[in-house]
Amino acid sequence: MQQPLGLMSAARRALPALRGMPMALLALLAVCGVVVLLAASALGGWELLRAGLQSTAGGWSLHPLQRALTQHYMLLGPLRNSLLLAVPVALLATCAGGLLAWFAVRTDLPAGRWLLAAVALPHIIPGFQLASAWVELFSHGGVWQAVFGAAAPVAAYGYGAIVAVMTLHLMLFPYLLVVANLQAADPALEEAARIAGLSPAQVVARITVPLARPALTASVLLVFAYVMEEFGIPSLLGTPTGFDTLTTRIYGLATTPPLDLSGAAVLAWLLGAVALVVLWAQLRLLGGQRLETLSGKASRHSVVRLGRWRWPAAVGVWGVVLAAALAPLLALGLVSLLDSWGQGYGPDNWTLQRYRALWHSEELRRALRNTVSLATGSAALATMIAVAVAVTVHRLPAGGPRRLGILADRVSFVAFALPGLVVGLALILAFSGGWMPLYGTAWLLLLAYVLRFSGVGVRSVAARLMQIGAELEAAGAVAGLSRLRVLARIVLPLLRPALVGSVVLVFVNAVKEISATSLLASQGSETLAYEAYVRFQEGNYTQGSAVSMVMIGMVLCMLLLGRWLGRGSTAEVT
């Protein structure tokens, strides 16, 4: 950071005419980014709509829609399967996450504050890699059998496996929502119930859970939406047993010859509509009933003493949580070291060959390079767009540019809520052939990631921007700084935590992205996620696991770097 800034200021001193140029260039780039984002969304949306209303001959027709509705395997079957997954996973994950949140916040469970790390780990690992770890653990001849000498107690593939892996993967959301809710609740509400004569268990049932209801409902909706759009897990665990969801059916229709892009488009409408309805319900929920519990004294909670249950609870909770968090990682790590799959797990069968392949195999090296540049590029672009959009919406007076900013804000939000497969399909339809044949290039992946993840940046930057008191900027203007200088010298430095957050989150999401990537990547534009996914799909678990371990390492490093860069950011900004 220091070096380029130093160069810039040197250049500025040498050429007074250049004052403010880098800022102006960045601003211009960001505005171009916003325009491209809006244009691509409009084009993609239009092409997706058109594709679903086209006959094979080319004219307008309701035939694809009719076909999808009448042929069970196309729409109704996958829809039923998706719902069969989404409802139980939403409930299970909310119960499990909520219970763990209660243990962490309200009880004297040993090391309770470390539960977050344990719950976060299975979410940090991309879903399809968690699914592969499940297979490595529980398939015939898998790690479980090798360790315990008996057949695994659970199925490696199929419905139950998908439910388990998804619950594990998505438990983090309910955990975070309920923790925030519990910490915000006024402790006096529970204390008053104790004084009124309720037992600790009754307090939980009568006060804590009802107070947490908005968070629980929000969790159910959020997990439901994520299950509906999840592609990697059902693709690896469901497709082999013939269990298809909406996402895997779209993938099949769009990638398996004979291609049926019209049919895929109709399914994408449905999937997109579900995502938007859930989003709408969530916004209503959050906008409508906000519980008036925030007293600002979150620390002084009366703790529920587990008493003689403390150590049994600790063993139970930590046993399950640690097994769930670490077993997948250990399985991936172990399998990534194996020389040949099926020859046992002992050190005599170990090799670093799969890791060396990342440098020696041209394809994997390209994937590594692509992943790093795509993740960096999309993180930088999405963050610049986020700043442009947030500043336009929250700092400009009403008018044309502001209206454009509000539109971009909404579009980025919707694009983030849409399933990756829907975005990917729309981009294929818009950019394969025609006047801008980007399909097959890494540029289309960059566009997809910026489109999908700008919303993350916009949320984070806008939230921070709203915390910055207007007087801080007025003081800059009064002191003689132009608008652009106020932005550069006061607003951007104060936004630093949000900028770091945005860069880190977009980077991490881009590294992990598989659902749009599975449609858009091809030879030359592979990413590590794509390579790992393809290896797992082919049954090459050793190479897939090695690539996965490298990706997980990248993601963890980025998250730690973000924590470090965003430190000391609690200073008041109003």
Partner: protein
Amino acid sequence: MTAITIDRLGKRYAGQPVLHELSLQVRAGELLTLLGASGSGKTTLLRILAGLERADAGSVRFGDTVVQDARVFLPPQRRGLGMVFQSYALWPHLDVAGNLALALREQGIGRGEITRRVDEALQTVGLAGMQRRAIHQLSGGQQQRVALARALVAQPRVLLMDEPLSNLDAGLRDELRDQIRALQQRLGMTTVFVTHDQTEALALSDRIALLHQGRLVALGTPESIYQQPPSAYVAQFLGKANVLRARWDGSALRIGSVVLPASVPDAVAAGQEVTVIVRPQNVCWADAAPADAAVIAAHVLQSHLLGAVREYRLAVPALDNDLTMTELSTQPLREGAQRIKLPQAALRVLPSPQTEGAADG
């Protein structure tokens, strides 16, 4: 030194007028206080002077430079201002020296010169050696001084202060008030100071401009505006005042059944209704007053010790009114039936009748 000429400024928010054709001249080098209740338009006027708001009508000149009229609008960064904000608005990502240096650096001033001026400004406000402190490590009073130093460091033509003392506790407020006054007099900088606190305004100002509902209702030195308020509203805003209705019979004032000798403005004709304002400290006990005034019977309803003075609430049936009275608390406490006098010099007579209802702000 720069005079500020404000000519017929008008401003509306969502159709509601906030400033009505307001005209005012701030003399070069003076400290003028904009005093008023919340909603009086004083902060809006200050923000228009700063260029943070744009007036709908009228003009503002700094010296000979028009900074705002129907055609011209000079943005804040080109007005050459220093401003102290109510929240101080210190940039939390910069340390003390960084806050002071930011604008200087942007002007392209050399490093040595910046250091010299920053040190000098900190010296001026009594914070020498605090250059490297982070903002959140400072106490409220220190933050206030840094804000002042930041406003002074660029040697502005005009200094604007928006309720700069309102976030401090009482003792510190008085101390800093006196320091600001001494500093302003030493630097001789044209200063506009916004406050809702009349004590602050009286203690600090060369002149006070009192605003009420977007209009200028009084302008003058603290002495003149306090002693000769132009209206009952002004009298009551600047401190406690008894407001009485009276009739001028050509030679004396008649209030209820009491006849008081008084001098009245020339414009007042015999038989006309007038308003009489009496400050509580000017009400006297009959046994301690000059001989010329009428003796009036009164009854002590309540008394409060306020520290240096004691305040009485008196029922005065002959005046059809209750009166507030204060005297030094070293005097003996009185109770029950008493007699009072209203000396001629204590009566401020205003020509048009003013009801107390006008003073509800």
